[in-house]
Symmetry: C2
Subunit: 524 residues, 2 copies
């Protein structure tokens, strides 16, 4: 008994939690109970319709089946049900007339017609473009068979068809009335919210990826859920994953939303729900670069921390500005505002250009010159990298406040160093040993690089034993340098893709008649 009590407690706790997180679910359940109550009242209390109530099952069935969570889904199902019933009823009445003419072959004609109609309706249902009408075909089949069979038995084809139709209309009327008039739940509103949420998710992932990468936070062990693309709690991962995975949900919501009449903030016939899905698709196209950035974080071939710090300020800025643009677009979408005359991409483009210039100056850090067939570059050039100007960096990091909880404090990283700003050569090279001229002096111990679950060199060792150890470790060091180039280049690609996103957003703003932005963000 105690165990049973605990189960009940657990279930009710979870039920209350679900209600708190989305109170619409409670309202919807109460609406469903109300609709069922009304239909039973109508059927079993009203004496004059006693005759009709023999077919009460149809009304109850209609309410149970048509009552969907959102208004759009309810209307679409109601339409399917109505169309299926009417067309099947008409066909069945015609067929009944025909089969009556067949005389003694009547049964055979009826059974054969059921087979043929069953075959055709099922086959048509399987055609891809008929998918939204799947339910209509089911109702069609059911109605046709029912009228043929029970009509034959009672010889009241017309009566069966009419009473069935009346009760379905009654059920649909009660169901639609309760669902639409009391606290309606709109699929369009859900779609709008989902797209806005995706913006925030991608922004969170982007900022988180950049900051994790710059802080050299590595996964102790990559969750196998990420490796097999299953849902996981990882904040960097879940942000873009939910944006990428929402395709089918968006399509379903859009399919319902187009059935909904103008309502609330969507005061427009033929509201362009399609454009919301399009904006979300353009966002997904951006999210794929964030996914690739996360791939750099996950990869076991990692750039040494020192080199990342060289580009740290610029990378940080691009990540911050990129996330800011996404958040701004998401907020504007929520508030249904146009972008307005300002160039929303201005700052992120500036940041990207700055990063690009930094690469121009320092691109020798992205590669390893040791094995160049054209000869190594002069020793003193390599030593420049060792200049530290920590103080300068410290001040600059304060500018970029985190937009989300996924971003960790950059300054807490103990080795946060930088060789930013050109400084005269040799000024500080006496104190420390140049890290990239000494492959065994890697900041991350080489063993740690291969600690991860996916370890591609593992399969290779059996043939590499003839080569000296140094050469192999060089190979990975070089790959590790490239990893930084990849991260940088993907970030620039992300910025490039933002233009496309802004274009789709503007198209949405035009077609959906978004309002002009009220407050200018900054006085110029």
């Amino acid at each position: 008994v105690a165990g049973w009590c605990r189960t009940v407690q657990g279930v009710s706790r979870r039920a209350i939690k679900m209600g708190q997180s989305d109170p619409r679910k409670i309202v919807f359940s109460a609406k469903m109970g109300l609709a069922l109550m009304l239909i039973s009242l109508l059927i079993f209390l009203k004496e004059p319709f006693k005759q009709l109530s023999r077919y009460s099952v149809w009304a109850i069935l209609t309410v149970v089946v048509v009552f969907e969570f959102s208004i759009g889904a309810t209307l679409s199902k109601g339409f399917n049900r109505g169309l299926g019933t009417l067309s099947a009823g008409g066909l069945a009445l015609g067929m009944a007339e025909l089969s009556g003419l067949a005389g003694e072959w009547e049964e055979a004609v009826i059974v054969a017609s059921i087979f043929i109609i069953g075959f055709i309706a099922t086959y048509a249902k399987l055609y891809p473009t008929m998918k939204p009408y799947e339910y209509g075909f089911r109702v069609f089949l059911l109605t046709y068979c029912f009228i043929m069979v029970s009509g034959y038995r009672t010889r009241e084809f017309v009566h069966t068809a009419v009473s069935r139709f009346l009760l379905i209309a009654l059920g649909a009327g009660v169901g639609l009335g309760v669902n639409i008039l009391i606290y309606p739940i709109w699929a369009g509103e859900d779609l709008h919210k989902l797209v806005a949420k995706n913006f925030m998710g991608v922004a969170k992932s982007l900022e988180g990826c950049v900051s994790t990468y710059l802080n050299c936070i590595e996964y102790e062990r990559i969750p196998s859920k990420i490796l097999t693309y299953q849902a996981s709690d990882d904040p960097l991962y879940s942000g873009y994953r939910s944006a990428v995975e929402s395709t089918s949900q968006e399509d379903a919501l859009m399919g319902f939303a187009i059935w909904e009449p103008p309502h609330g903030r969507y005061k427009m016939l033929r509201y362009p729900w399609k454009n919301y899905v399009k904006v979300s698709g353009a966002l997904r196209h951006c999210a794929f670069t964030v996914m690739a950035l996360h791939g750099c974080v996950l990869s076991e071939i990692q750039a040494p921390a020192e080199r990342r710090q060289v580009f740290s300020r610029e990378l940080q800025r691009v990540g911050y500005e990129g996330a800011k643009v996404l958040c701004e677009l998401g907020n504007k979408l929520k508030k249904m505002e146009k972008i307005g005359p300002i160039d929303i991409l201005n700052e992120v483009h500036e940041a990207a250009e700055e990063l690009q210039k930094k690469i121009d100056q320092k691109s020798y850090l992205l590669v390893n010159s040791e094995s160049w067939e054209i000869g190594n570059r002069p020793k003193e050039l390599a030593e420049i990298q060792d200049l530290l100007d920590l103080d300068d960096e410290e001040n600059k990091f304060h500018e970029y406040k985190s937009l989300s909880e996924a971003v960790l404090d950059l300054r807490s990283f103990p080795g946060s160093q930088s060789w930013d700003d050109p400084v005269p050569a040799k000024s500080a090279s006496l104190n420390t040993s140049p890290p990239d001229s000494n492959p065994s002096n890697l900041p991350v111990p080489p063993g740690k690089m291969f600690m991860k679950q996916i370890s591609w060199p593992a399969g290779m060792t059996f043939k590499a034993h003839a080569e000296p150890q140094v050469e192999e470790s060089n190979t990975y060091q070089n790959a590790s340098q490239l990893s930084l180039a990849t991260f940088t280049s993907l970030l620039i690609e992300f910025v490039a893709r933002l233009q496309n996103l802004v274009d789709s957003f503007e198209e949405l703003g035009e077609t959906a008649l978004f309002k002009e932005p009220v407050d200018l963000p900054e006085p110029l």
Copy 2:
């Protein structure tokens, strides 16, 4: 009339086409017709059951609703229906007894119970883990309301419940019998085929991306469907997209497959369908790098053709070997074979290592030295790049035959040049001008780079006008060099992720008892 004829013609042509592409659809439709025919025969021809056939609607309803495309879906729906009916029937009979005790308040008790049961069942249905039983809850509600309402009217609670249950059992029996005994369609088989198809799709995309990149084939205009991640015919795109997008389809098929009894090649209780989905997830993790590679092809910032040709042979080989591994795994999955003692990744790792070594030697080609703050590298080093050894390359390309139609003939590219193999400096530098020391002499005219739809520098020109034009074009030239580094590094990342895929495949092979490979691929 002529127009109507044409419509009929068009519809029937499409219907025939659908039947040819998947004959199972015809068989399924015929089965559906047969089941409906059988149930009508049983109901309206058998005189002894005349009494029962008043409730014929239940049998027909059950057949229409339970008859699903695959066996797993049919069994799962049948189970839901059975469970819902039985539990609702039991509850309704109990409630009827209770309401009888209430005396004059009987109607009130019945109506209130309908509201409460409706509320609880709907609320429980909305709980996420209850999703697979959604249909069961609907049936539960329907049955409960129907028995309460019609039982009250006729005072035959038990009779209503029993006859309803008998007819549902009859309908379910006919539906399941026809669906399982005649040409069964298994969801597990579909899942198996889908996963194998995804392997081929990703392999095709990978090879196509590498070859398109090396041939410098650019999109005249990127299809807006790709930019908003909608389905498109593009062969490079559709291959990985279908693998990435099949998540929900796989989950649905797995949900049905676990209901299916052992059959055909899957002779095992509790067959590990979950592992198929896991392998597919690991494949998806690889597909994301292919997606990023395709992003390099789509990007408007492109590396000059000459530089790509330097790494052409190695990139081509990695792409070819990677696609070969995927195809091999796909075929082994199809044939349900284990990987066996051979190391399937051996060759692709060798190819990746070769590429890595090439990068070691030539990584100066991945960056632009012009703006280095440490000074430009010596002129004569830059000129080495201009050595051409076309003849050598021509012979090597024959080794890599295309695995799919998406790969274009590499040799047809007019500018297919290469500076492979270290050659003594200055031997050929007199004939041609060094391309990277002269920014205006780009192989791709700079105008062409910005031709595409997504053009991020466009938004920047209004503020860059003060700077000399040369500097800006330098910036993009440098970015374009990095694009090659990104492509290379992503390809290496792809190879690294293959290990994880092979691991999940081996796990599947173990749990699903795949057979040992019969023929060793090569005599050692």
